[in-house]
């Protein structure tokens, strides 16, 4: 527990670093928010109007003052106001995040449900035809871009079955769980396939290593069956690299999946970030990036706790 507390204490430090970085980075991009917001009409503004708009969004101050204000707001839980949406940034995030989280969780679930058994299966039949088949599928899965899979899924569903459950207004989980799942299952598959392929490959490699370990031989010498040896003795050891990979992939997914969201017309975080960058919506970019960084820290902490749960050497320290 002490360990978790120490890790949590590091959060603000990392967040501070990220906040400075994203604050400066977005301002180094040429262009400004007001021009981006009004488009060609911005040419009609008088300098006075432009200045008063800038003052309204707090863009008239120098960077240090702007950063200071933003930071003070941040400490009060205020991420600022989005220029494009005219809404508080925190409200936009809270509206979009549940979908992104759900999509990420579904993708990971799919990846683990397919990838782990496939990897273990291939490892126990190494160099035999079934291993080769699994490896070929994993290779294809990992090298196919997810938008290709997404388009393919839509095509098969619409042409083959004549339905299109994915389009139309997004139904939140709380409103209609089944309808929501029907909407998300295809995007989750599109995102989860490459993820599953990666899990397959890494769990196969890890299992292959572990199956050659002395303690697996010991388990066999006790007279246990192949399946018991694999699931009880080998797999828990092979899970550590799988957890590492899953943590990283899951962290990325929490930042939103721009292309898949776009194809399936889902209001997730990915499209918000893209729009915000195009619109020079400083407050929104900063808020979302900070939020994504925070999620990464949380996911990393969970991954480390999972290591400790899986491996007593990490739990008690090597001594």
């Amino acid at each position: 527990m002490n360990y978790v507390l120490r890790r949590l204490l590091m959060f603000p430090l990392v967040m501070l670093g990220v906040s400075v970085f994203v604050f400066v980075a977005i301002r180094l991009v040429p262009g400004d928010a007001i021009t981006a917001m009004l488009g060609t009409e911005s040419g009609l503004l008088t300098p006075a109007q432009r200045e008063s708009l800038a003052a309204y969004f707090g863009l008239d101050q120098n960077w240090v003052v702007q950063y200071g204000r933003w930071l003070i707001g941040l400490l009060q839980g205020d991420l600022g106001l989005s220029v494009t949406y005219g809404q508080p940034v925190s409200q936009i995030i809270m509206e979009r995040f549940p979908l992104t989280l759900e999509l990420a969780l579904l993708s990971m679930l799919i990846a683990l449900l397919i990838g782990l058994p496939a990897g273990v299966f291939a490892a126990t039949r190494v160099e035999r035809p079934s291993d080769l088949v699994v490896r070929i599928f994993a290779m294809i899965g990992q090298s196919t871009p997810n938008f290709v899979l997404a388009l393919l899924a839509i095509y098969v569903l619409s042409v083959g079955f004549g339905t299109l459950p994915t389009m139309g207004r997004f139904v939140p989980l709380t409103e209609d769980p089944l309808g929501n799942l029907a909407q998300l299952i295809l995007p989750a598959l599109a995102l989860g396939t490459a993820f599953a392929a990666a899990v397959t490959r890494i769990s196969r490699a890890a299992m292959l290593d572990i199956l050659g370990e002395d303690y697996v031989r010991t388990a066999r010498s006790k007279g246990f069956s192949q399946s018991y040896v694999i699931w009880r003795h080998a797999l828990p050891n092979a899970l550590i690299p799988v957890v590492t990979l899953s943590g990283v992939e899951f962290g990325y997914l929490l930042g939103g999946a721009v292309i898949v969201e776009q194809i399936f017309a889902l209001p997730g975080l990915g499209r918000v970030v893209l729009d915000a960058i195009l619109q020079r919506d400083y407050a929104l970019v900063q808020g979302v990036v900070l939020f994504i960084a925070f999620n990464f820290l949380v996911v990393n902490l969970i991954v480390d706790l999972a290591y400790a749960a899986l491996d007593p050497r990490i739990r008690y320290g090597e001594s």
């Binding site: 120490r6 204490l9 199956l211 370990e213 002395d214 303690y215 697996v216 031989r217 010991t218 388990a219 066999r220 010498s221 006790k222 007279g223 246990f224 069956s225 192949q226 018991y228 009880r232 003795h233 828990p236 050891n237 899986l310 491996d311 007593p312 050497r313 739990r315 008690y316 090597e318 001594s319």
Partner: protein, 567 residues
């Protein structure tokens, strides 16, 4: 009654139809209550033979190619199905492996790994499982068994883990126990404990025991019969006394000659003198400490006193043997002298960095596999900031010839045998013409016959170049053959030091006595090992702790013991 009858057993590895045969027709029998020792050097096929008996060899890419291995006069292991083998493994044939540290599952608690045997093999459930596991640990004399069951393997010492391993093998109540080099990875005093335990448990259970070892000296105390293997064949077998006292095969005689027998100071070197020589290496009050815990926002929990106030001198042409068990600080001392770890206190006087060179234990790991002999030998020269010119190339050729290696500079390490690689390491260490060589378990990884030849080479080189050796080893018999003086390290401190002949023939410190008593010997047959469950003293001290200074008592002209107990 014959428990296991092996006839003309042949084992091979590789793809079906293209196997490379490594065991070429071995035959032996084991009766209940009997101990058969299989002795051989690496590559003799002894372990493969053992793994074939319970068909674990199947999982390492191997296969029984021919012959029979009939267990209990009813089932032929060579043709049994995997399902039949699973009924045999654990319940009828138990196995103990060489490396206790890697043979237990690191992510499962020790208790879970014993519980599963009672649950799956004996059908126990609920509280009965835990009680059976506690009894299993009690049986192998593990104190405080209930608490130990809740520990993870990495929280236990090697000796303790090997006892857990034995408890696991016995939990299935097998009638045949196979022990594959069960003590090779352990210290000599722990080895004696494990041997004692095995002997006693075998008497208790009446099981047959196949004991596999490279150490023919270890066999004498335990075995009824011996099978000597070489190159996949059984070259000699028979009752222990006949094979040890009247070996009929040349290889057996060779093995018996090559094994360094400890002779209580009788075999020490008589050459060399310290008189009038100035020291090539002088170590004063050397201490090495490692903080434990610590780190970001963390308090240091304690300090490991790995080496605590060690002093000695080494003169040219002399070998100082540093003996001790794992954790005694002998390797740390060696590393501190080479500046590989930072001493916390003390003084080390040498004649510059290149005057001291080191040879490590494992020649496979200490030669970069991607470098040629030329590049390997050039490295110390380059590291010392010198140019690789014709003089250096000449020296390479001279040294290669001197260590009896072919003069081909373009070869890679994998083209050499283990003994040759260690010779290459020695040549590399000599490139800078050092005055002191630190040899850290330099012959421990080698087969006995190779070991003997490398030792001879080292002694010759010492005489020729006037080298001083700091010879770090756990093996008293080897130290006896090369050392002029001996320092015994225990828990980071020297407890006894002096002329090798005096220390080894008349050890005075209780720890030295214990160490010497634990050395196996072919002269000690069927001995009653006394079971001693004492564990090694902890080196962890509170922050700010200073050990009381050592006081010394003189025993002879060059023989001192520490009188302060260092526990």
């Amino acid at each position: 009654m014959t428990l296991l009858s092996v006839e003309d057993l042949r084992v091979g590895f590789g793809k079906s139809g293209h196997e490379t045969e490594v065991v070429h027709g071995v035959s032996f029998e084991v009766a209940a209550g009997e101990t058969l020792a299989i002795v051989g050097e690496s590559g003799s096929g002894k372990s493969v033979t053992a793994m074939a008996v319970n068909r674990l060899v199947d999982f390492g890419g191997g296969r029984i190619l021919g012959g029979r291995a009939v267990f209990d006069e009813r089932i032929d292991v060579a043709t049994a199905t995997e399902a039949e083998m699973q009924r045999l493994r654990g319940r009828e044939i138990g196995m103990i492996f060489q490396e206790p540290m890697t043979s237990l599952n690191p992510v499962l608690k020790v208790g879970a790994q014993i519980d599963e045997i009672f649950r799956k093999q004996h059908g126990l459930s609920g509280r009965a499982v835990r009680q059976a596991s506690i009894r299993a640990l009690d049986r192998v004399r593990i104190p405080d068994a209930a608490r130990r069951l809740d520990q993870a393997p990495h929280q236990m010492s090697g000796g303790m883990l090997q006892r857990v391993m034995i408890a696991m093998a016995l939990a299935g109540e097998p009638r045949l126990l196979i022990a594959d080099e069960p003590t090779t990875a352990l210290d000599v005093t722990i080895q004696a404990q494990i041997m004692a335990l095995l002997a006693e448990l075998q008497r208790e259970t009446g099981a047959g025991l196949i004991f596999i070892t490279h150490d023919i000296g270890l066999v004498a105390g335990l075995a009824d019969r011996v099978l000597v293997m070489q190159g996949g064949r059984a070259v000699e077998s028979g009752p222990i006394d006949r094979v040890l006292d009247h070996p009929s095969h040349d290889y057996t005689r060779h093995l018996l000659d090559a094994v360094p027998h400890f002779r209580a100071g009788q075999a020490v070197r008589r050459d060399g003198t310290r008189d009038g020589r100035t020291s090539a290496l002088s170590v004063r009050d050397l201490s090495v400490r490692f903080p434990v815990g610590g780190g970001f926002l963390r308090r240091t929990r304690g300090v490991v006193h790995a080496v605590d106030g060690v002093s000695f001198d080494l003169v040219p042409g002399e070998t100082l043997g540093i003996v001790g068990e794992s954790g005694s600080g002998k390797s740390t001392t060696a590393r501190a002298i080479l500046d590989l770890v930072r001493p916390s206190a003390g003084q080390i006087d040498t004649e510059g960095r290149s005057a001291v060179q080191m040879v490590f234990q494992n020649p496979n790991a200490s030669l970069n596999p991607r470098m040629t002999v030329r590049a390997l030998l050039a490295e110390p020269v380059i590291a010392a900031g010198q140019r690789v010119d014709d003089t250096v190339l000449d020296r390479m050729h001279t040294l290669l010839a001197r260590v009896e290696l072919p003069a081909d500079l373009d070869r890679f390490p994998h083209e050499f045998s283990g003994g040759q690689r260690q010779r290459l390491c020695i040549a590399r260490a000599l490139m800078l013409n050092p005055r002191v060589l630190v040899l850290d378990e330099a012959v421990s990884a080698l087969d006995v016959s190779v070991q003997a030849r490398v030792l001879e080479l080292l002694i010759d080189l010492q005489r020729e170049f006037g080298l001083a050796y700091l010879f770090v080893s756990h093996d008293m018999a080897v130290v006896e053959r090369i050392a002029h003086r001996v320092a015994v390290l225990y828990a980071g401190r020297i407890v006894e030091m002096g002329a090798a002949q005096e220390v080894l023939s008349d050890p005075r410190h209780p720890y030295t006595q214990k160490l010497i008593a634990a050395i196996p010997s072919i002269d000690r047959r069927r001995i009653d090992y006394a079971i001693d469950t004492e564990d090694v003293a902890s080196l962890l001290r509170p922050v700010g702790f200073t050990a009381p200074p050592q006081t010394w008592r003189q025993i002879g002209p060059d023989h001192h013991i520490a009188t302060e107990e260092t526990s």
